[in-house]
């Protein structure tokens, strides 16, 4: 546990340092044109966009998917207060990212501008309200999706599909804005104007913090708080109806015994696990968003050449890098889609069923790995074939593009299940706490990320060496790690599962 705490702390420090470095770099450009206020404007907009994106697909889960609903709703509390407490949970989740972006940016601004004492006061006061509006905007969309879905029989599936449609639409929309304006990295007043036009609260924020406008500060805080109260009150009136619609199963009393299909224990566990996966929208959205983005990106690259994409985002060497590093880029999306890192925790109170069953625990663990591979492998193969066409890769590059992500898929799934069995959380009331916030998910994400950053770094540092050779070496190493993990599950699975 101490090691875990140190690891998390180190991760936080690393993010803070990277964020500070980024702010410092961007600030140098703004310093030259004498518009340091733009630093805070852009960073505030960035924090808001992060808040919006990370909330949109978990809003429905946090607002409606918690096990102690009956207990909470039977207490003498107003429904709007229950809604408010759920939104505040989303707020706390996002506050971390806001602090990671804004605190370093604020420090850089203070170093460069040397502002009055009032700056620090206004900055710290406004800081806490930045995530509120983006979260509410995302929650409104989440609640609307839930409201629409709750009217259908397959409410969960509809909710998942609608959320993906919204995410892809917002992505395409923002891409088109950037593409048309061609200002993604051209940090200028044009960009600030666009931000202020699209998100007037950013202008208010800059006025308040950089120009010490008390009126703007009060208006910024008031708008954020009032929107929050209004949302909680309005959703409070429809809350029970939406929850009932989402959780009520369509029951009939007409079942007659039919012939049953018998399967092997592994196949039965696999089918059960796949059904578990599909039954939770937060689980699906959180672990398959990477694969959906990969698919969208691969399709987009069929229509936009990598050279054009490079021009668009002003990285002229992009097409070069992309064909060399595409296997690692695809693998990054795969490691983001690790379902196994929460699959044991999600057993929750049901874990007794598996623990008391006469099946080797290795079989149980491997069935969870198989479900993860079912989600990552087919999309990975389809995307890689599309990337082969769009990037016009050589036969060796094509082979690596196909094989390296598959090796990483095995690696990510095996690593996730081991991390989860070492760091289980079976006592949960909301799936969000397992899928989004559990130590196992964070640790496996961190390990997955490190496992890709190192090969990326090696490939970039050794650019004079044949890239295919480096990728081949990485593939062999990861395969060796996979076989070690597989063996570990075979020899220690029983004991680890018993200790749960």
């Amino acid at each position: 546990m101490l090691l875990l705490s140190i690891g998390i702390l180190m991760g936080v420090v690393m993010i803070a340092v990277a964020s500070f470095g980024y702010s410092f770099m961007v600030a140098q450009t703004f310093e030259q044109i004498g518009r340091m206020d733009l630093l805070l404007a852009i960073m505030m907009a960035a924090a808001s966009i992060i808040g919006f994106f990370t909330t949109i697909y978990k809003a429905s889960g946090v607002l409606f998917g918690f096990k102690d609903y009956d207990l909470v709703m039977s207490l003498p509390i107003k429904t709007s207060h229950v809604v408010a407490s759920r939104v505040l949970q989303l707020y706390l989740l996002n506050l971390f990212f806001t602090l990671m972006v804004m605190l370093p940016a604020g420090a850089v601004y203070a170093i460069k501008v040397n502002p009055e004492a009032l700056y620090y006061l206004f900055f710290l006061m406004a800081l806490w309200f930045i995530p509120l509006l983006p979260i509410i905007a995302a929650s409104i969309i989440g609640a609307l999706i839930s409201w629409v879905s709750s009217r259908f029989k397959a409410s969960r599936m509809i909710s998942i599909i609608l959320t993906f449609v919204v995410i892809i639409a917002v992505m395409i929309g923002s891409f088109r804005i950037n593409g048309n304006e061609q200002v993604l990295t051209d940090m200028s007043t044009q960009l600030a104007d666009m931000i202020f036009k699209l998100y007037p609260l950013a202008a208010m924020y800059v006025d308040a913090v950089c120009s010490y406008q008390m009126g703007s500060l009060l208006l910024f805080i008031m708008i954020s708080v009032l929107t929050f109260v209004l949302f909680a009150t309005v959703l409070g009136t429809r809350y029970k109806a939406i929850h009932t619609g989402l959780t009520t199963s369509h029951a009939s009393s007409k079942y007659v015994m039919k012939p049953l299909a018998a399967s092997s224990p592994f196949r039965a566990l696999y089918k059960k696990e796949l059904r578990r996966y599909m039954s939770s929208s937060i689980y699906v959205l959180n672990t398959s968003v990477g694969m959906v983005l990969l698919l969208v990106m691969s399709i987009a690259l069929l229509f936009i050449s990598s050279e054009k994409l490079g021009q668009l985002i002003e990285i002229p060497q992009l097409s070069n890098y992309l064909s060399k590093l595409a296997p690692l880029v695809v693998s990054l999306f795969i490691t983001l889609s690790c379902t196994t890192s929460s699959s044991i925790s999600l057993e929750g109170n049901n874990v007794w069923i598996l623990k008391s069953s006469p099946v080797s625990k290795q079989t149980i663990l491997l069935s969870k790995v198989a479900v993860n591979l079912t989600i990552t492998m087919p999309i990975s193969i389809v995307s890689c074939v599309m990337l082969m066409i769009s990037l016009r890769t050589s036969w060796m590059e094509s082979l690596l593009l196909l094989v390296i992500p598959l090796i990483y898929a095995c690696y990510s799934a095996l690593m996730g299940v081991i991390v989860n069995i070492k760091l289980p959380n079976l006592e949960w009331t909301s799936e969000v706490t397992v899928v989004k916030q559990s130590a196992a998910v964070l640790v496996s994400m961190l390990i997955g990320f490190i496992s890709l950053v190192i090969p990326f770094g090696i490939s970039l540092l050794l650019s004079h060496v044949n890239g295919n050779l480096i990728l081949l070496g990485i593939g062999i190493i990861i395969m060796a790690v996979c076989s070690v993990m597989y063996r570990y599950i075979q020899t220690n699975g029983e004991q680890l599962f018993r200790a749960l």
């Binding site: 959780t247 009520t248 199963s249 029951a251 009939s252 009393s253 007409k254 079942y255 007659v256 015994m257 012939p259 049953l260 299909a261 018998a262 399967s263 092997s264 224990p265 196949r267 039965a268 566990l269 089918k271 059960k272 059904r275 578990r276 599909m278 039954s279 939770s280 929750g348 109170n349 049901n350 874990v351 007794w352 069923i353 623990k355 008391s356 069953s357 006469p358 099946v359 080797s360 029983e494 018993r498 200790a499």
Partner: protein, 237 residues
């Protein structure tokens, strides 16, 4: 059928939930395990069925140690916990079929036994519904059916009558008696002393992790009611 030898279980902080428990359940026994809340009944039961790990002592099922060969022990054991937490995302029939697969029950056996027991508990018509739509009692019935379809040699139940309607409770008692007359053994905890007195041929009473009495029901209760004996033992010291 079940031998518990010097079984002890401590929780974090060193508190002993069960201390040096010794118990033998033979074929044909319906063994009642009685004690107040927190006495150590559930801890013992969960250890017997391999859900809870333990360090001291040993538990043997059909002569096999649960520590040495847990899979072999679990193949002949069925367990019903005090709270039937089942997979909400499956339908009743999917759950029963899943358990049938895990215990490698033949297709013919599982079809006939599911029909037999779900008809007896009157939930056949609801088997196509999601478990999330089931009441507590229906979940309990489903858990009981899932325990019976693989014809266990040892049936371990933790408070099996909680949540059952009177008809279902009667059906369960009949099934328990039938199972034992066919050579299986049953070890179960209950707070319903009337049921224990009428149903069990053997009784064990546990208090604060210590077995305070056990043996044939008639010997344990003598000429008193089981309730009087239990209250007398629990209230002592």
């Amino acid at each position: 059928m079940l031998t518990i030898k010097h079984f002890s279980k401590s929780y974090k902080g060193g508190k002993k939930a069960v201390n040096d428990l010794n118990l033998v359940v033979e074929k044909g026994d319906i063994y009642g395990f009685i004690g107040h809340n927190g006495a150590g009944k559930t801890t013992t039961i969960r250890s017997v069925v391999g859900v809870l790990d333990f360090e001291e002592g040993d538990i043997e099922i059909d002569g096999i140690s649960i520590k040495k060969d847990p899979v072999a022990c679990k193949t002949v054991t069925a367990y019903i916990p005090d709270n039937p937490d089942l997979y909400d995302h499956l339908t009743g029939i999917q759950y029963l079929n899943f358990i049938g697969d895990l215990f490698s029950v033949s297709k013919a056996d599982r079809e006939s036994l599911i029909k037999k027991y779900s008809d007896a508990f009157q939930i056949t018509a609801s088997l196509g519904n999601m478990i999330s739509s089931y009441s507590h009692g229906m979940k309990q019935k489903l858990a009981i059916i899932s325990a019976l379809i693989h014809k266990p040699k040892l049936l371990v139940l933790d408070e099996p009558f909680v949540g059952l309607d009177p008809k279902a409770a009667h059906v369960l008692k009949t099934i328990m008696a039938d199972l034992c007359s066919n050579g299986s053994a049953i070890f179960f905890s209950t707070h319903v002393l009337d049921v224990a007195e009428k149903l069990c041929n053997k009784i064990a009473i546990i208090k604060a992790g210590q077995l305070i009495t056990h043996g044939k029901t008639e010997e344990v209760k003598g000429d008193k009611s089981l309730e009087d004996v239990f209250l007398g033992l629990i209230d002592n010291d």
